[in-house]
C-alpha cells in the first residue's frame, strides 16, 4: 500500500491534501484492501490526486470502487466544483458524453424463453446496427437534429418511439436542461445525424438477462423485479456527436487555460470557469449530447420492443416491457448538495460514475420518490450485472454517486494476447450463452477475464453506503459491436 494512503474504514481510503502541493482537497477512494491492490497496479491514484487541482473543487476528489486508469480524470472519478468560482472540465465527462445504461423489464420468465433465445438475439442483431462504420436506420435533417438535441426523449415520444411513461423513468425525464444546439459544431451534427439507434462498439452492449438473486425484497417489488424474470439491459452513449463535442471543447478549454495562466498537472483536465462564456457554451453543447444519448437509448428500446413482438407474437405492452430506469455515467450536472453544513450549487462531474439519488433528492413526481433511484450496474458478459438503489445517506459521501461497472483489469492488447476469442465464444456457448458479436478478437478484448469481478465492486458500494444492492442479473444473450 502506498505510504500516503490513510485507511478511514474497511471500504474507504484517503489521500491527504498535504500529499502534493497544489491539491485543493483530499482524495477519497472507496475500495477495500483487495480492490486497492488492483487499483495500485496502474496510474489511477495519480489521477485522483490530479483532479484535486481542479479550480473550485469542493470536499474531495472522489473515486468509486471500480476506479481505473483513464485520461485526465480516473474512470470512476467524481468531482464537484462550486458554480460561482469553480470550473467545468470536458475531460471530467469524457468523449462519450452521457454514456449510460437502461433496464427494460418483461413479464416473461427466463426459463420459459430459452428455446426462443437464439431467434430473439438474432432478431435483435438484425434490427440494431452495431460496430464501427455502421449507420442507423434513420438520417435526420438539420431541423430534426436541432429538435432532438433540445428535447431529448420527447423527440422520440412525439414520433412514436417511446411510451408516455418511459419519460418518467429516465434521469431528468429524458431531457437535460440548458441544451443549446447553436453551441454544437457543424462537424458534431454531421457525425450524429445518421447514428441514432446504433449501439456502437467497445464495451457497449445489449443483453438479455435473468434476475437470479434478490437482496432486498421490498425494493425489488417496488421496482417490479422478481426472481427468474427476463430483462434487457442496454449500454450505449451519444456516439460520434458526443465524441466531436468533447474534442471541440477541449480545444476551446486549452485556450482558456493559456489565457488564465492556469497550471494543471494533466492537459486533459483543461477547463473553464462554469460562469465563463466558454464554460456555459460547453455545458449547453454537453446537454445536447446528453439528450442525444437518451434519445439513442430510446431508439434502441423501440427496436428491442419490436424484436420481442416479432418473436413472441404479442405486443410489447402485453409482454410488460416497461422501463425500470435510464441513467448516465459520463456527465456533469448542476446539483445542490450540503458541503460543510451549507447548501451549495455545484457542478458535479461523474466520469465513469453513476448518480445514485436517495428518496430525499428525487423530484416529487418521480415514481421512485419513496424508494430511491434505481442504479443499473453492468458487469461483464459472463458473470453478472446488478440493480442497486440510491440511499439518502450517500449524500454524505460522494454527492450521491456510486460505481458504473466492473472496471477493466487488463488492457485490450493484453486481453487479446491471453484470451482467444473463438475459444471464449465456445466456452460461453457451452454455458448456454448466445452471443451475437462482430468478430472473435473483439470478444477477446471484452472477455470476462479482462474485467474485475463486478460482485466485488458492488459489495464495496453497498458496504460504503454509496448504494444498496437490490437484485443480481445473469446474462443469457449478448449483442456486441
Amino acid at each position: 500500500m502506498a505510504d500516503y494512503l490513510e485507511k478511514l474504514t474497511p471500504c474507504c481510503y484517503k489521500i491527504p491534501k498535504t500529499h502534493k502541493q497544489g491539491m485543493l482537497v483530499p482524495g477519497i477512494i472507496y475500495v477495500d484492501d483487495k480492490l486497492l491492490r488492483l487499483v495500485e497496479a496502474d496510474k489511477a491514484l495519480e489521477q485522483v490526486i490530479n483532479v484535486a487541482f481542479l479550480p473550485g473543487i469542493v470536499k474531495a476528489s472522489f473515486a468509486m470502487p471500480d476506479i481505473h486508469w483513464g485520461y485526465g480524470f480516473p474512470i470512476g472519478g467524481v468531482a464537484a466544483t462550486d458554480v460561482k468560482r469553480g470550473a467545468v472540465s470536458p475531460g471530467g465527462v469524457g468523449f462519450d458524453i452521457s454514456c449510460g445504461v437502461r433496464l427494460l423489464k418483461t413479464n416473461l420468465e427466463a426459463r420459459q424463453i430459452v428455446p426462443l433465445l437464439k431467434d430473439l438475439m438474432h432478431e435483435l442483431s438484425r434490427n440494431i446496427p452495431k460496430g464501427v462504420g455502421r449507420h442507423g436506420r434513420t438520417k435526420l435533417n438539420r431541423r430534426e437534429m436541432e429538435e432532438l438535441l433540445l428535447t431529448g426523449m420527447s423527440w422520440g415520444l412525439k414520433r412514436g418511439y417511446a411510451w408516455d411513461e418511459d419519460v418518467l423513468h429516465v434521469e431528468e425525464k429524458g431531457c437535460l436542461a440548458g441544451a443549446d444546439p447553436s453551441k454544437v459544431s457543424e462537424r458534431a451534427f454531421e457525425r450524429g445525424h445518421d447514428q441514432l439507434g446504433t449501439l456502437g462498439s467497445g464495451n457497449h452492449f445489449l443483453e438479455a438477462q435473468e434476475v437470479v438473486g434478490i437482496y432486498n425484497d421490498r425494493v425489488a417489488e417496488a421496482f417490479g423485479l422478481f426472481k427468474g424474470q427476463l430483462v434487457v439491459m442496454i449500454h450505449s452513449g451519444s456516439r460520434g456527436l458526443g465524441h466531436q463535442i468533447c474534442s471541440d471543447y477541449i480545444k476551446v478549454m486549452n485556450k482558456v487555460i493559456k489565457k488564465l495562466d492556469l497550471e494543471l498537472p494533466d492537459r486533459q483536465l483543461a477547463c473553464a470557469p462554469v460562469s465563463s462564456s466558454e464554460g456555459k457554451d460547453y455545458y449547453a453543447a454537453m446537454a445536447c449530447a446528453a439528450n442525444y444519448a437518451m434519445a439513442n437509448r430510446q431508439f434502441l428500446t423501440y427496436w428491442t420492443r419490436r424484436s420481442f413482438e416479432c418473436i413472441f407474437k404479442k405486443s410489447a405492452r402485453e409482454l410488460g416491457m416497461s422501463l425500470l430506469y435510464d441513467v448516465s455515467h459520463n456527465l456533469a450536472k448542476f446539483e445542490n448538495h450540503i458541503v460543510d453544513g451549507k447548501e451549495m450549487r455545484l457542478c458535479v462531474h461523474r466520469k465513469g460514475a453513476t448518480r445514485a439519488f436517495g428518496p430525499n433528492l428525487l423530484p416529487k413526481d418521480s415514481p421512485y420518490r419513496n424508494i430511491g433511484q434505481p442504479v443499473i450496474i453492468p458487469g461483464d458478459m459472463a458473470r453478472a450485472s446488478y440493480v442497486l438503489v440510491g440511499m439518502a445517506e450517500s449524500e454524505n459521501e460522494a454527492f450521491s454517486s456510486t460505481c458504473h461497472g466492473a472496471g477493466r483489469l487488463m488492457s485490450r492488447s493484453q486481453a487479446k494476447k491471453m484470451i482467444r476469442g473463438d475459444q471464449l465464444k465456445k466456452e460461453l456457448a457451452e454455458k448456454g450463452l448466445i452471443i451475437e458479436a462482430g468478430h472473435a478478437s473483439l470478444l477477446a478484448e471484452e472477455a470476462p477475464g479482462a474485467y474485475k469481478d463486478v460482485s466485488m465492486v458492488v459489495d464495496v458500494c453497498d458496504g460504503a453506503k454509496l448504494s444498496k444492492k437490490v437484485v443480481k442479473l445473469r446474462p443469457l444473450g449478448v449483442l456486441k459491436g
Binding site: G91, G200, I250, N254, S411, R412
Partner: protein
C-alpha cells in the same frame, strides 16, 4: 526503422510513433492510429483527401491532425492506409495527403472504435530522432 508501437493502457490504448523528421512522426502516428482501427493490409488506395490543419504547438497540431482524420473517417466512411505529410511550417501548420478507401464491411474487419485523441501524457519530442506519444479514448 520501426514506425510505431502500441502503448498499453488499462481502459484505452495509445501509440508511440517514431520518425527521422517531425513530418515522418506525424505520418507514423496516424498510420499507427488507423492500424488500431482496421488491419491496413486489407485497405486499398482508392481515394485521397487533402488535409490542412493548424494549431499553436506541435503537440496540439498532432491532436488536430489525428482528430481531422477521425472526422473524415467517420463522416465519409473512409479508412486510410497511406498518410503523407507534404508541408510542415513552424511546427504549427500541416498540409498532408491521406489515401485509403471507403469502408467495405465485407473486407474490413474493425478492431476498435476510437472516440477521440486525448491530451493525457501527450508528447512530441526530439532526441536524436522524433518520438510522439498519444492515448486514445476507445
Amino acid at each position: 526503422m520501426k514506425r510505431f508501437d502500441i502503448l498499453e493502457h488499462t481502459a484505452d490504448v495509445g501509440i508511440v510513433a517514431y520518425g527521422k523528421s517531425l513530418k515522418e512522426v506525424f505520418e507514423n502516428t496516424a498510420l499507427g492510429m488507423f492500424s488500431l482501427i482496421v488491419d491496413p493490409r486489407t485497405v486499398r488506395e482508392r481515394v485521397c483527401y487533402d488535409v490542412r490543419v493548424e494549431n499553436e504547438e506541435k503537440e496540439d497540431l498532432l491532436v488536430e491532425w489525428l482528430n481531422e482524420l477521425l472526422y473524415i473517417f467517420e463522416v465519409n466512411k473512409v479508412v486510410f492506409k497511406k498518410l503523407k505529410a507534404l508541408r510542415l511550417k513552424d511546427e504549427r501548420f500541416l498540409e498532408a495527403k491521406a489515401c485509403g478507401e471507403r469502408i467495405d464491411l465485407r473486407r474490413h474487419q474493425f478492431e476498435i472504435q476510437i472516440k477521440g485523441c486525448t491530451y493525457h501524457e501527450l508528447r512530441v519530442e526530439k532526441d536524436k530522432t522524433w518520438r510522439a506519444q498519444v492515448i486514445f479514448d476507445v
